[in-house]
Amino acid sequence: MKRLVIFWALAGAPLYGRAKSPGPELLPPNGFLQMWDRAAPARVFAASDLYGFIDGGAELYLEFGFEQLAVQRYGQRTRNAGGTGTQGQVQLEIYRMTDPTAATGIYLANCGKETPDPSFRERHTISSFQLRFKRDRYYVIANNLDGDKKCVPQMLEFGKYVASRLPPDAPVEALKMLPRANLVKDSLRLIRGPYALQAIYTLGEGDVLQLGRKVTAVAGSYETPGGRYTLILVDYPNAAAAGVAFDYLRRNLDSYLKVVDKSEKALVFRDYDGKYGRMSYAGARLSISVHLPQKPSIN
């Protein structure tokens, strides 16, 4: 469960690069845009607390690499004659991940089909309820709790305020691994363990790709005349590590996947849906294709 309350930074968290520990400077002050006040004191969650508050949902954050969550709720000043009470509510959530790849991974898992606003330059998506964006190792959500469309421009202003105080964005090398031709828009995913992998495909129990929350895999779907398939690529630190991972995967392949062909460095299987998969490694790279409509060659 995730309580709609406010969390704020704990002292002493490890720093990353040029990034600052989340602090008051990231949060818009009282009177923001002349109409938003903090509704309660802000609080924070460290990694050790997140699981307790996002019951059943924290695993993915922790798998990618999570450090702190800061949440602040804002209430909108009323314009009534008495000038008391509040109307709209915006809740700001600032996730400080361990590195830009982790922030991008959690963003891609949650952004869905991106519907950006041209006035906001960070990679983001916005709807009447939420603005989500990532920058450097930060993943930020601004929730428009009432869904009032009139608050959407202000949600953007909250986002711009926070973004302007974050370190510059950094490139994510893993995203460059996939070939671009025929790649389905919005299908890109990053993977650092079983929770991210399970959204795409079940290859086996646990960390069957031997990523250890350190190695980053990338996945994307491709349109072909025969149908859509998904490609997963992993670059291990070296060829030996890739070989070990391939061997582990082969020995622990999910019981619903039936091996139909194999060689020293490749394997073809048929899945529960009657589709095919192929996994192989060359050098330090493990390559896995799934949802293939036709049986692929082992070579």
Partner: protein, 404 residues
């Protein structure tokens, strides 16, 4: 799935060839698993290789006339009305009509006769809501209003209706307060202190410990909450889970006070599975659940419902699919919200979840989201069928769609 229709219905859905192949494949592979030595199960047995639980004790208890899957095993009715949600505004009157139509459509009887099928006037009825994900995807207050009104019209005093969930603060956050539901009771089984330092009483015991029945529990032998990954210490675990032994105790509200339960889950995913009817009950009725997530996530959704205190009291399930969320769950993620305009009715929560799982999978594919359709995500439903708790075989499910 078998589907039925009448003049007001949209064309019925059918079990697609793809569904058939997948289900047949799952059955075959489950059979093959006997040879391969992987998880599988025979009728009434736990899946092999799983941790030892007290499911056998649950199964020994004699069934009653209200035991799951209830009087309508495998029957699921979906009521769809586009007027229920227009431009992000919920229409209480439309939702109320949908509830009336859904209950009658499910039972084939009028409202009064439907009431008698499940209740008598002396019942204390628990309405299990799902507040997680508010305000985006929690059980709608309007739906609770309509169900409570039906109960009251048929003679249940308002004070004998208890709106409940596991955590008190989530109920409040989602709008389930005594002020909003006047005359009724609103209760969380437990509290949890956000600051982490005000959850013990003077004796050092969790202030909610007394809310749980130490004699009625779901036990997983040897699986306690003392070494669950991600919890730094016992205190943080206990704060959220109340106990950390190898038992998950049922709330006394359920074991001692409620005589019937209506389950109002929401229409959303959890990873590649769903968090709808059976998860709402499975994880919402007990404490000490975090230890269960990793090894037994969906199994809990079957085995906890097999406990007589749930099995014999849970008489009606209505999944709130006015809004749907096809990804990002179980928490509210507006990016994946869509107007689904539907309520789903069943006495059999396993058939209900199978229908909704299929729909959710179709929705994800329709919008181009990745969808892992591995049979493991519905295995718990087939397990429930093997225990006689419900129907999961899509060929046996009778799915009726009614469109306003």
């Amino acid at each position: 799935m078998n589907t039925t229709g009448h003049k007001s219905m949209v064309p019925s859905g059918t079990l697609s060839r793809r569904d058939f192949v997948r289900d047949a494949g799952a059955c075959t592979l489950a059979g093959s698993a006997l040879i391969l030595g992987v998880a599988c199960f025979e009728r009434g047995q736990q899946p092999a290789g799983r941790l030892e639980t007290n499911i056998a004790d649950f199964m020994k208890a004699p069934r009653t006339r209200h035991s799951l899957p209830g009087p309508l095993p495998g029957r699921v009715v979906k009521i769809k009305d586009p007027g229920s949600l227009v431009e992000d505004r919920f229409d209480a009157a439309v939702i109320s009509r949908m509830v009336e139509k859904g209950i009658c459509g499910l039972t084939g009887r009028d409202q009064a006769e439907s009431f008698k099928l499940f209740f008598d006037r002396n019942d204390v009825v628990g309405i299990k809501v799902n507040p997680t994900g508010a305000p985006v995807i929690s059980t709608r207050l309007e739906l609770v209003d309509a169900v409570a009104a039906w109960l009251c019209r048929n003679g249940i005093p308002a004070q004998n209706i208890v709106i409940w969930d596991r955590f008190d603060y989530e109920l409040t956050d989602a709008g389930f307060t005594r002020a909003r539901f006047q005359g009724m009771q609103v209760e969380g089984l437990q509290t949890m202190d956000q600051k982490g330092n005000r959850w013990r009483d003077a004796n050092g015991v969790h202030i909610s410990a007394g809310n749980f029945d130490r004699n009625v529990y779901y036990r997983v032998k040897g699986l306690d909450g003392k070494s669950v990954r991600e919890y730094p210490d016992d205190d943080s675990y206990l704060n959220q889970n109340v106990f950390n032994d190898d038992c998950s105790y049922f709330g006394k509200l359920i074991t001692r006070r409620l005589t019937k339960i209506i389950n109002l889950g929401t229409y959303k995913n959890t990873g590649s599975g769903i968090a709808m009817a059976t998860k709402n009950m499975g994880y919402g009725s007990i404490c000490n659940t975090a230890r269960l997530h990793d090894p037994l996530f969906f199994t809990v959704c079957t085995e906890v419902l097999a406990a007589p205190v749930i099995r014999d009291k849970l008489v009606l399930n209505i999944t709130d699919g006015i809004r749907g969320q096809y990804d990002g769950g179980p928490y509210g993620n507006a990016q994946f919200i869509y107007p689904n305009h539907s309520l789903y009715f069943a006495t059999d929560p396993f058939a209900l979840d199978m229908v909704c799982h299929r729909e959710m999978a179709d929705k994800r594919k329709e919008v181009g989201r990745p969808m892992n359709e591995h049979p493991r995500y519905t295995e718990y439903l087939r397990y429930a069928e093997s225990l006689g708790l419900g129907i999961a075989d899509t060929k046996k499910i009778e799915f009726e769609r009614i469109e306003a």
